[in-house]
Symmetry: C2
Subunit: 233 residues, 2 copies
Amino acid sequence: MNRDEVRITKFKHPYVTVDCVVFGFDEGDLKIILIQRANAPFKNKWALPGGFVRLNESLEQAAIRELKEETGIKDVFLEQLYTFGRVGRDPRTRVITVAYYALVNRTGHLITAATDAKTADWFLVKQLPMLAFDHQTIIDTALTRLRGKVRYEPIGFELLPEKFTLSRLQHLYEVILERNLDKRNFRKKILSMKLLIALNEREKDVAHRAAQLYKFDAQKYKELKRRGFNFEI
Amino acid sequence: MNRDEVRITKFKHPYVTVDCVVFGFDEGDLKIILIQRANAPFKNKWALPGGFVRLNESLEQAAIRELKEETGIKDVFLEQLYTFGRVGRDPRTRVITVAYYALVNRTGHLITAATDAKTADWFLVKQLPMLAFDHQTIIDTALTRLRGKVRYEPIGFELLPEKFTLSRLQHLYEVILERNLDKRNFRKKILSMKLLIALNEREKDVAHRAAQLYKFDAQKYKELKRRGFNFEI
DNA sequence: TCAAAAGTGTTCTTGATACACCCATGC
DNA sequence: GCATGGGTGTATCAAGAACACTTTTGA
């Protein structure tokens, strides 16, 4: 069955879905959003937000739409992860899923009630329930990608609120990379890139010296990258 | 249209193909395989080898099968690249394609006549003809991936014959990365990893001093990687 | 004997790592 | 005044970059 030989009128072909692994960083922990399924198969099991791709929308549009419909989340970092197509991964019929991962800063994105009354909630990445389909595999793949990518692209900032402290940023990296970083070396490295803007503001309501707040200079990064600069932690 | 709500019996859904970007390194140049289309759309235009995914095969199996059917190539490095799903990328109907890229050493993989008499041939990556569908975009994506990956995974060896000289290896990197490398530093770096086995053999039939032949120690790399070693050029 | 590529070390510069104490603030 | 995290500098070590000449071989 080569592309050229086939007359496309009707022949049985796989269904296509998108699924989203939505990462958040809250209370110092890495979390993801899961949806509780209302119907068979895997009724009442937890699963990734996602659904079928429509004929008139791109894959990314489908991911954005499903994310909004099922979790209320919009305007976030979203990137294609991998496409999973094992025969039998869906017990109903042949379904290929194009997985995406998203990074959100949780304060800006509280989950709204999903349109169809399904339950959506945040789970600690380290304490996930049993998942529907091959969604655990998808999450494992997303975690590997996140850990790899966070080191050479400034995507960590997507998980933080606009204004953050250096300690918070360091802690984010420590949680994702699962190892401790030296405070002085981390600050030296990150500040030497000149990609953080020190604000005229400090932390509030903390029971210790209030830390300097920074924001990430996305504009400057874009410009530096264009000129061959490589972000690296 | 959420996964839960849909009753999967029949509803119109996208078609799914796989396409393969097959890289080869020959006569000091980076090349890829293209197939000349025998039918509409894009009749007589060049395109990537590929075709429709069957219901009873995984995505990777489909890629392997199409590669063999259309080019005769088998048993090569193959990795999923990206999934392209723009609406309108195929003028006939909605088709989503899962792209793979392959690395072959050309001496071991001469193209056989394709099963269906379509023409397959190697093209210089730097001199490609007009391509069907969005295949130029797919190739650009594959090149970016190859350039990125070759630096931190030992995949370059997949493009060379089993036995090769250090100069040949260096030249491969220079062609892929599009910059010159210092001979002494390159040799120092690559040999310091202790991943090359010096053979009791030298080049033959060259009009100059015959160079030492090496082979890549895949077994040792696997072991080192397991213990946290990172390949890097 | 000439052309062509193989092969080989050292110096310098830069970035990574290791490491400990004082400071500001709220309670 | 004490507990808590904020904030800072230096010395050592390792890796990367720059750089030129001799050797071997076939034609």
